[in-house]
Symmetry: C2
Subunit: 193 residues, 2 copies
Amino acid sequence: MIQTHAVRLFTERGYDATTVADVAEAAGVSPMTVYRHFPTKEDLVLVDQRVQLVAEQITATSALQPLVRRIGSALVDSAKALTGGGSGNDLTANEQFLLARLRLMISTPALRAKHLDNNYALQQAIVDALGDDGTDPDTAFHAHAAASACLAAMHTALVRWAEDDGRTELPDLIAKALAAAFGDGIADTDPDK
Amino acid sequence: MIQTHAVRLFTERGYDATTVADVAEAAGVSPMTVYRHFPTKEDLVLVDQRVQLVAEQITATSALQPLVRRIGSALVDSAKALTGGGSGNDLTANEQFLLARLRLMISTPALRAKHLDNNYALQQAIVDALGDDGTDPDTAFHAHAAASACLAAMHTALVRWAEDDGRTELPDLIAKALAAAFGDGIADTDPDK
DNA sequence: ACCGCAGTGGTAGTCACTAACAGTTTGGTA
DNA sequence: TACCAAACTGTTAGTGACTACCACTGCGGT
């Protein structure tokens, strides 16, 4: 509830021009309560990264495939879970809310910075999930390079998705971004296609 | 001078535990003076991105090459300018200072986030320099995906460089990171090698 | 009626950062 | 030397995010 009011106020008046006290008042609670649920003002907007989910998808992929393919397909699949499968044409309320938060995130430096740093944390989780045992620094370096590049491509897809107002399916956009960066074919999700 | 004291204090006591007033006192100036030279506390540490330089290198590359190759070679070249050419074995004072700031940047969330956002601004400049006229949204999307992935690989190289205490040449590490992400051969700088 | 406990609120403080104003130093000019 | 303008520095008084600490309320179980 607090989050809903926050995103609405931030969108209407701007992020910087809206204080946490404003959000608290709109939600009918005290500023203290806001801080109890959301450790920082930025967390009122930022999208849950689902680190756990992505990591599980990574371990589920075949270790025989190239790194960017393993990571890419995991990201595409997690995007499906995020948008709810993407069945019909109309956007669900969940997707609308996601879009509103993404638009704030893109246009507000503080939010954008924190989101990019969250992506960096996700990168660490991906490298861990890839099964890097830490013995070979070159292997870890390779994994970090691949993971960071894949996540950067995904971020580009997120921005494009928000600019498109969600008209294109997010998983498809991510696959397109991966293909644009790494070349066609590397990021196909379903081999039976 | 202010910056030198700031990095030293941040390294000794920690970034969060050091106030801007502390930095000002160590530098023998008032807190206001610090804010006049560095708009935010983070700017006391962050590395100059040299957006202009990278953009010029991009326009100097052949438009016939693949995007990641154009961007990659520009990033490798700008890294040479940043570290000062990398001639001898010993680290220059400039490189030492760069290393200290990088270490802070990697370990401090606020600094890391802002640096990643600076990279995002650099991405915009790279896309602009690539000559995207904005008419075709797919072309722009392609350029953004490639640029973001290249910058992510470069960031990975920066982290590795700091972990290595600068023992490996930074431009070489960036080339290695690009090769790890995009495949060998795509990021070679000098064709005559 | 009693206890524990999760959720909520108040108070006071720290610190990054800003705006408005005032004093000082510096470099160029007559 | 005298002078002026511009750059530099300092003071004060704020705003707002965020924290630590303590008190209060409702609520199910014994």
